[in-house]
């Protein structure tokens, strides 16, 4: 990603809590103008990373650069253009939605007050803005949290589990809002357990495991073609025997309706098909096996049968 403009960058970022290392030598690079997913099991270090990025806690080593500004030297200007929800949005329950935004606007500084009404309207809370937040549903709090982010007119939004408490309609609305924000040239970092949601929303992802970055890049590089093909045929046993001797086939496994093969080169699929037909196996279909984000995620991470100890 060397040639891509980066909104957020960390270099060898490390954070320890006592003897436990929560983040280890993390080199993260978030390109500008897209939705970036942050994936990891509970305890993988996602929230610690978000708290480091927002200056809520200090790193033990490494650097953070936001929009070209190093933290903590340029903390004020770096964070001025960030809107964030950490874990779940908190508010003063005894204040109304509008009053809560007034409080944050006062802290953010001059000219922020004028963004309150547009932000409320954008998240669809204009009519309930004068109700006390303690009477809000979880979904309304999430939307108010987004409105609070928008007060910064942010170039970067960091949203930790933003779909928590949202009904399907609310999730769809949030997905559209995020798409609109990105279309405006903003960058959105989404931290979520909902892999399907990340797959639908994000163009790039980083996978954290035990405080380490195990993968980052475009989501299309992570999911999709797996190099495997399902071949439907009438005699799976014969097909396995034939393909085990075929150099183009890396691996072959029987399936109830045929075989699954892994080939080194996608062009070898037609050769595989020809070999089976020549051996008298009736092939009724060949389809590529797509790997999902969930499968990739579980392959990479350690909690459920992943590769690292």
């Amino acid at each position: 990603m060397n040639d891509v403009a980066l909104t957020l960058e960390t270099h060898r970022l490390t954070k320890r809590f006592g003897h436990r290392t929560a983040i280890t030598d993390l080199d993260l690079a978030v390109p500008s103008g897209l939705t970036f997913g942050l994936l990891g099991h509970n305890g993988a270090g996602k929230t610690t990373l978000v708290r480091l990025l927002l200056g809520l806690i200090q790193p033990d080593a490494g650097t953070i650069t936001i929009n070209g500004r190093r933290m903590p030297d340029h903390r004020r200007s770096a964070l001025a253009g960030i809107g964030a929800i950490v874990e779940e949005p908190h508010f003063h329950g005894h204040l109304t939605g509008r009053e809560n935004l007034r409080v944050v606007a006062a802290v953010r500084g001059p000219h922020t007050g004028s963004r309150i009404e547009p932000a409320l309207a954008r998240v669809g809370l204009g009519e309930r803005a004068d109700d006390r937040v303690r009477d809000y549903s979880q979904g309304m709090r999430q939307r108010l949290g987004i409105a609070r982010c928008l007060l910064a007119d942010p170039h970067l939004l960091i949203l930790d589990e933003p779909t928590n408490g949202l009904d399907p309609g609310g999730i769809l609305q949030l997905r559209r809002l995020i798409a609109d924000l990105v279309a405006e040239g903003r960058t959105v970092v989404l931290s979520s357990h909902l892999l399907g949601e990340i797959e639908k929303t994000c163009q790039a992802v980083a996978v954290l495991d035990q405080g380490r970055l195990v993968w980052q890049g475009g989501i299309d590089d992570l999911v999709g073609e797996s190099g495997q093909y399902d071949i439907d045929c009438d005699r799976p046993g014969v097909a396995v025997d034939v393909l085990r001797t075929e150099p183009a086939v890396v691996r072959v496994d029987p399936r109830p309706s045929g075989v699954r093969v892994r080939v080194a080169d996608p062009n070898a699929v037609s050769l595989v098909n020809a070999r089976l037909i020549a051996a008298g196996v009736a092939v009724s279909g060949v389809s590529p096996v797509r790997i999902s984000l969930e499968e990739r995620f579980l392959e990479m991470t350690t909690r459920i049968g992943g590769p690292r100890p």
Binding site: I57, R75, L79, V86, H92, H94, L95, V103, R108, A152
Partner: protein, 259 residues
Amino acid sequence: MSTAGPMIAAEILKLRRHRSTMLTSGVLSIGITVLYFLVIESRSNGEISAQKALSSGSALLAMYFGSFSAVLIGTTAGTIDLIGGVYRDLVATGRSRVALFAVRVPAAVTVALAFNLAGFAVPVAAAFTGGGVRPGLLAQYAGWVVLATTVVTAVSVAVASVTGSRSVALTAVIGGQTIGTTLLFGAEFLGSLRQGLLSVALSHLRPGPVVGSRDHPGSSNALPGFVLPMSTAVAVLVLAAWVVIPLVIAAWKVRNQDA
């Protein structure tokens, strides 16, 4: 610091909307003062002197119930963001932690003064019905109430910001001002060290005669105070220390704490 005004206004908004604190402070600063004067008016057949009205009314506000009201408001201001879980969202705006702390003090003092000066209107009214008041004396008593309220509120904000817990801060400040002060004041072996007590310094600066003072032994026109012989300069220094030291400690604490 062009944004201090709106930030202070936002802090005041949080306090104003905090119903339980406002209600309790209203009862402590205004309700009890009204009740007190109703009782002594009925006992004195409406012949309460202006001096006595101002003296006892101001003591009620500066040293007792008005002081508790100031503690309540100060501790609320010091912890309201932490308890609401909002503090980290405010830190994430990039605003410095010390600035977020600093605006709590004038906001809390403003709200506490609003209550205690409203309460002070009660002895003023009683004083006018009791034969009129010299403006100079009135200003002295009002100034003393303002001074005591400001100091106690600032200390409360600082203690609450350090502890991060309203209940702990309330216990510490009110316990310190009542039981702690009474015990230490009674410990005569401490000698002049007792001049360092907040209540002793405030009592020294109280206008007019004070019960227990050598000039007015046994005077009955005021509530009892913690009076020791000391110079006004020392009393002022003690009060300044009571304000500055807790605030500096609190600022250092919030500057270095995780959000």
